[in-house]
Amino acid sequence: MEVNLGESVCEENVYKHLFSKHYKVLRNYLNYRFKDVDIADEYAQNAFLILWENCGKIKSIQAKKFLFTTSYRLVLNHYRSDKIAKRYKEQLISEGIDFETPDLLFDENELNLKIYAAIRALPEKQRIVFMMNRFEDQTYKDISELLQISVKSVEKRMQRALLNLRTVLK
């Protein structure tokens, strides 16, 4: 479906188009960032609901940036306001409950598992850029707009990520 970028998000077909186009990327971005698929699901959905609440104020061209900014803030607020739950969760993790749900599908041979572990162990900034580019088909320009940094910074983060991953193969 083709959507005019200036169209109102209040149009049901426009809203659904935005959902189809951005939900997976948004949800996976939150998962890559916070390593918690439940949180990612919940706040990606909430961001879409807030988009609907404010659909009269937002053109479809602005929606993607709105969704990423809103969901990111929602998750940060969640962690700030839910310190008790977070402490409880940390306690559970220390007792061996695994909260991390795999976020990639791959043939589970030894080499792939090593690479996967290395990807997840990348510093957050590198991990987000790397995973958004490699697994969500986001260009460096797309990522720079979402993270509000320059394309050059995105490239540097990608470079460092690749240098780090290279060490696994040595």
């Binding site: 609901l49 609907w52 460096y140």
Partner: protein, 306 residues
Amino acid sequence: MKRSVNQDTYLAKWISGELNDSELKNYVSENDFNSYVLLKDLISGMQSISPDIENTWEQINQKKLSSTFKVNQTDWTLKRFYLAAAAILILFVSIMSYHFGLFGSQHVLTSTQSKKLNIGENVFLDLYQNTSITQSAPLYNINEIELDFGEVYFEVKKGQDFKIKTNQGTVEVLGTKFNVKSNDNFLSVMCFEGSVKVTYLDKEYIVDSGKSFNSIDRRVDAILENKSFNSESGILYHEFKSTRLVDVKTFLEKTYKVKITFPKYILNRKFTGALPINDLELSLHLIASSFQLHYEINQRYVYFKA
């Protein structure tokens, strides 16, 4: 010809296709080059896991329809006019209903709403999400309601007769604070103050303060003590009172060392009742019955679905 590329970004440009393989060789050793090619191949064999888009879209639409989320697109002058007109209409209907006893009424709540009601001066109701009650008599003269499904917390002043009919049984009040939860095969009554009489399958049960009555599939488990306690069947229970499902989930995960996934829209709903602490299957069944969910167990993972 060697292009001028910043030393900080040549790998980024290569993996995105801006540099080709032979151009990369200008920046790295043969050994490193082979490793990067291998890395690129391995990564290309990986893909992200897609969320359940169809189910998520349905959940979002459910939430959109609830009163929690209103679309902010109407002109404010027009909106105020509509709000004023609606308020006048509601006031008129309420006055007619209260003074002339014209209508019984039904309160059906969708999944994201809760509602507080006063019936006369002696009865207070706190309806939870996804609950339906029917009042078959005028409000000022009511001493009986029907709980069609869902969960309601009651406070009834001493001396006031009050009866709650459910499709599982009847709860009669003897001056008390208590909670009733009911659906097709489940009835749970928890008494916090005073006592209530539960009539279930033609038998009467008095539930005193601090105790609860639970039945599943026409089987009465026990008149249970609140907090942690042993039932007659030897099962250890833990009591929850208006506890968010997300906290119940955490409790179960900790108790049974499992990972539980619920539909997101339901996590902030509240649970009142008793759950076993040494019987995972029964706990899951009670939760599923209370919230009209289904569940699947896969090793240490439990998935609840609408």
